[in-house]
């Protein structure tokens, strides 16, 4: 949807500020009651969803110049969706996350976006990955594993490693664990190898919708050619893209995050842990696996009014309220590992606090992105946990970078924890 399609919604936002807080029913302390990293850091109203509605109004009506401040207001949104969950506690006809993404896209169309994003776009154009690494080495992480290469072979299932796991050397062990578990499950799968491309989710979250669609369509075409019906990934960003975004472009695949697979293997008795891992951990819900990891529901309807002025949709419009994401699977995995003790943070599941890596902030506003990660690390430390476990390479990287090697909290990908227990 274009920004102008949100015109009515903009007038319906009541500026109640619920978007700045976790759902109030869930508030346990003053320290961890807030949910929106951008207003927590920048403080002005505009840096919350309610403020972005007003900014969008001004932009649509040409009432403000598209200054650097306007750019920052839009692009510091991490697109974590915490505002969306909080808003929908009470509202049934607002979509603050989608509106903010439309604001970003509107500004991008007008050439208003942070300078560092230009390099990302160049990287994607040239090397089909966000880091600008050599596309010919993308599949190097899988060397020696004997995996099917679906750029030339066929399989029902493709394992999509994603840019982070493919190119960040420190993560190669993690992603290899993922495919070893898949192999153990006996599933017929392959990888795209050097032909794998970025999922496009990150640039989409920055508002570069055209570049995203190009990548998404290319991925869909390549997978269909390889006979793929199912996608498995260990990257939460990718999971969200494939599960929630790709269907809009004809990508009607079955999508699993690796934690869903592992959880099922444990339940079926096919994966047994043999080693004890004596570790007190806390679990960070990645935004794109959790509240944005809900099942896509196709909707092609219209707004109608009932009883004069009640705004509703015909047919019933899917309501993504964040509650039906992937929350229990990683927790069940942790509970299955001998010795692991889970201490929950206050902000979890659909009202989890973001790691700070999303929406382009990691690349465009690194200081802010690091502050957000440290805010979350503080919360993790308050649980008394020795390690923060997550299921997303972007979260892991952002937390690790924020610590700058100085932190006492171990940052662990859930796959690595699984590997330790096997």
């Amino acid at each position: 949807m274009d920004l102008k399609d949100f015109s009515k919604e903009i007038e319906r936002c009541s500026a109640c500020s619920y978007c700045k807080w976790i759902p109030f029913d869930q508030v346990q302390s003053i320290r961890y009651a807030k949910n929106c990293p951008s207003i927590d850091y920048f403080n002005f109203n505009n840096y919350s969803a309610r403020g972005r509605y007003l900014t969008s109004r001004s932009v649509l009506r040409d009432q403000v110049e598209l200054t650097e401040e306007v750019m920052d207001i839009a692009h510091t949104c991490l697109t974590c969706g915490a505002c969306d969950v909080a808003c929908k506690i009470s509202r049934y006809n607002l979509e603050p996350l989608e509106m903010t993404k439309a604001l970003k896209a509107e500004l991008v169309q007008k050439g208003v976006f942070p300078e560092p994003q230009k390099a990302l776009l160049e990287n994607l154009k040239k090397e089909l990955n966000i880091f600008g690494e050599d596309r010919k080495t993308r599949g190097a992480w899988a060397e020696g594993l004997g995996l099917k290469d679906l750029s030339t072979e066929k399989a029902d299932v493709v394992f999509h490693a994603g840019c982070s796991y493919s190119y960040q050397n420190e993560l190669s062990g993690t992603v290899r664990t993922a495919v070893q578990i898949l192999k153990q499950s006996g599933v017929d799968f392959g990888i795209m190898g050097n032909a794998e491309m970025c999922c496009g989710a990150r640039i989409n979250s920055m508002g570069h919708t055209e570049a995203y669609e190009k990548l998404a369509k290319a991925n869909i075409k390549a997978w269909k050619k390889a006979g793929v019906t199912t996608i498995v990934t260990a990257c939460s960003d990718g999971y969200h893209a494939f599960k929630r975004l790709y269907p809009e472009l004809g990508g009607d695949f079955i999508v699993y995050h690796i934690v869903e697979y592992i959880d099922q293997l444990i339940a079926d008795g096919k994966l047994k842990f043999t080693k004890e891992v004596p570790l007190t951990v806390t679990y960070h819900d990645p935004c794109h696996l959790g509240r944005q990891g809900e099942e896509y529901e196709k909707w092609d309807g219209k707004e109608v009014k009932f009883l004069n002025q009640i705004v509703m949709h015909e047919p019933k419009k899917p309501r993504y309220n964040g509650s039906n994401g992937i929350y229990d699977e990683p927790r069940r995995i942790l509970a299955s590992i001998p010795g692991v003790k889970l201490q929950e943070m206050e902000r979890i599941r659909e009202y989890s606090y973001c790691c700070g890596a999303g929406g382009g902030a990691r690349e465009s506003y690194p200081e802010y992105s690091g502050w957000v990660a440290n805010e979350r690390l503080h919360e993790a430390a308050d649980t008394g946990a020795e390690a923060l476990v997550t299921a997303c390479p972007w979260c892991k990287s952002n937390f690790s970078d924020a610590q700058k090697g100085q932190g006492s909290m171990e940052i662990v990908d859930i796959l690595d924890l699984v590997q330790r227990a096997l």
Binding site: F24, L54, T55, S90, R91, M312, S323
Partner: protein, 554 residues
């Protein structure tokens, strides 16, 4: 006076570069859209409040004082707001400096023994409640909900809410304050006068300083800046944190056996009012509110099912209303209120429950059967104790306001609820406002001191993005204002309460209109008194028209 570059630099030196802006886009984030609701003002379609000259985020009292002194030096108006919940927290002049108080958000002290909390403006009901519950205490949360500032509810507005039974109105809870006067001086009121650490009393120096600083309805951000205040706390016989279960938005709680939520139904309004009276007389109940009726007499059972089932959306409303048994269920809670009974001990709870049953047997009231599932009882408990769903007021089309506001004895409202509902029902049939059954009256069954008065509002919902709907809502509010005025029900009329401060264009109302309104109010002496207070503490007139006043000669 306009804000010059030099002025701006001076202000920047006070709060730092990060905490000041005059970028038009940022200033637009501090404008209130009068299309949807304005709290007893409009609605006025496609009108925003003025942009303001700059917005500042002060971090402490010293910065606030320096800003206010700057404003005095340069005769520039300022407007502080904590959470910007309604139009009255926004400037009504382009040259006004906006103070966003969100950075001052610390709970400075919770004195368990003396049952007092000291807070800054940015502390909201949800956070103070969560922290006080850890200590076996609870704070009063005003009817605007737990998203709003505790300090603002106590100093700047009325502070009535479902918790009136245990907590009175918020202004009654106001104890000591740290007040940056409009002149820039700091005045510490109450017991702080003699001891800077004594927050326990709201009175003094001199006679009822609490009354002097608040006036009739509170200062509404027009009489300096309150940078700290203390509020009374109340007993909380529950767990240290509210356990929460279920999926958004249908969260529920499960509390020990000394808690229970009821929806009580009544055959007629006399039975309703008799029950309220007898509950006060016998000291029964922790929270009492006609809550879910704000969704509309004809719609509430369907809406309750939507709100308590995460798989449902508002698009399910029509089908739910057609379900077998719907009319009977709705009828059973046609005249109703929700009550939370909380015992300080189990024996206390058992006694209250027994007494409640006895009262109902006398008045003819009953426990509404369809609300008697564990899920709905626990949903009601969490809803009313935390008050975290206030934005549901806007659930239908984004616009709402309350009208037929009656602050009076509980009998007064009960005797007029049907007439108000019938009047509204006729307007609903015209098509511009939501057809909800006329009666959308809601409000607490207790008032000052926990009892004695009720506060009624008949909620009216409309589509704030639709000019016809918004204009129709305004016409209805004008009509209901005229109706209540003609009937002599409630003085100036709740639905237009703030229209003397801000006009149709979002700017301040001309003085002659304000004066005419205040002069014809039931007790104009109040506004003459407030004028004297205003002149004494705000000689340069740096506030705005939300603080209502009237010249002696008027």
């Amino acid at each position: 006076m306009s804000l010059t570059d030099t002025h701006y630099q001076e202000l920047e030196a006070i709060v730092g570069k990060r905490n000041i802006s005059r970028d038009p886009a940022v200033l637009d984030g501090y404008r209130y859209n009068l299309s949807h609701t304005a709290i007893h003002l409009g609605p006025h379609f496609d009108v925003l409040t003025p942009r303001g000259a700059a917005v500042l985020l002060p971090g402490n009292t010293e910065e606030v004082q320096a800003i206010v002194k700057f404003c005095n030096r340069h005769k520039i108006k300022f407007k502080p707001s904590s959470t910007f919940w309604s139009a009255q927290g926004y400037p009504n002049d382009n040259e006004t400096i906006v103070l966003d108080m969100r950075r001052m958000d610390r709970i400075l002290e919770i004195d368990e023994k003396n049952m007092v909390a000291v807070v800054e403006p940015g502390v909201i009901g949800a956070t103070l409640q969560a922290e006080t519950m850890k200590r076996g205490l609870n704070c009063h949360i005003q009817g605007s909900g737990c998203s709003c500032s505790i300090l603002a509810g106590a100093t700047a507005w009325l502070g009535s809410g479902p918790g009136n039974l245990y907590g009175g109105w918020q202004y009654e809870n106001l104890l000591g304050t740290e007040w940056v006067l409009p002149t820039g001086e700091i005045l510490r009121t109450g017991s702080l006068v003699n001891d800077a650490s004594a927050w326990y009393c709201g009175e003094g120096p001199g006679p009822s300083m609490r009354g002097v600083l608040r006036g009739m309805f509170g200062t509404k951000g027009s009489l300096g800046v309150f940078t700290k205040c203390a509020v009374k706390l109340h007993a909380w016989p529950g767990p240290q944190k509210l356990p929460v279960y279920g999926k958004a938005p249908a969260y529920t709680t499960k509390l020990p056996a000394n808690f229970r939520a009821y929806t009580l139904g009544f055959p007629d309004w006399k039975s309703w009012a008799d029950t309220a009276h007898m509950l006060w007389d016998n000291g029964i109940g922790y929270t009492g509110h006609r809550q879910f009726n704000f969704l509309g007499r004809d719609l509430k059972w369907a809406m309750i099912q939507i709100l308590t089932d995460p798989s449902k959306t508002i698009s399910d409303l029509e089908e739910l209303m057609k379900e077998p048994g719907y009319a009977e269920a709705n009828q059973s809670m046609k005249i109703d209120f929700q009550l939370i009974v909380t015992g300080m001990t189990q024996r206390d709870f058992d006694w209250q429950e027994e007494t409640l049953n006895e009262i109902l047997s006398i008045t003819g009231g009953y426990i509404v059967e369809c609300m008697e599932t564990e899920h709905l009882r626990n949903y009601t408990l969490l809803y009313l104790l935390r008050l975290g769903h206030k934005a549901l007021n806007l659930v239908y089309g984004g616009g709402y306001d309350g009208n037929f506001g009656m602050i009076n004895s509980i009998d007064f409202g009960a005797q007029r609820a049907e007439e108000a509902g019938a009047f509204k029902r006729e307007w609903e049939e015209k098509g511009q406002i939501v057809q909800a059954g006329g009666d959308c009256m809601m409000g607490p069954i207790g008032g000052q001191g926990g009892g004695g008065t009720g506060l009624w509002e008949n909620f009216t919902c409309f589509d704030s993005s639709d000019k016809e709907s918004t204009d129709g809502a305004l016409a209805f509010f004008d009509a209901s204002f005229a109706y209540t005025k003609e009937k002599g029900w409630s003085g100036c009329g709740f639905e237009k309460l703030n229209s003397l401060a801000r006009g149709y264009d979002g700017y301040e109302t001309p003085k002659e209109i304000r004066d005419a309104g205040h002069a014809h109010a039931p007790q104009p002496a109040i506004f003459r008194y407030q004028n004297k207070v205003y002149q004494a503490v705000n000689p340069l007139d740096l506030g705005d028209t939300y603080y209502e006043r009237l010249d002696d000669q008027q």
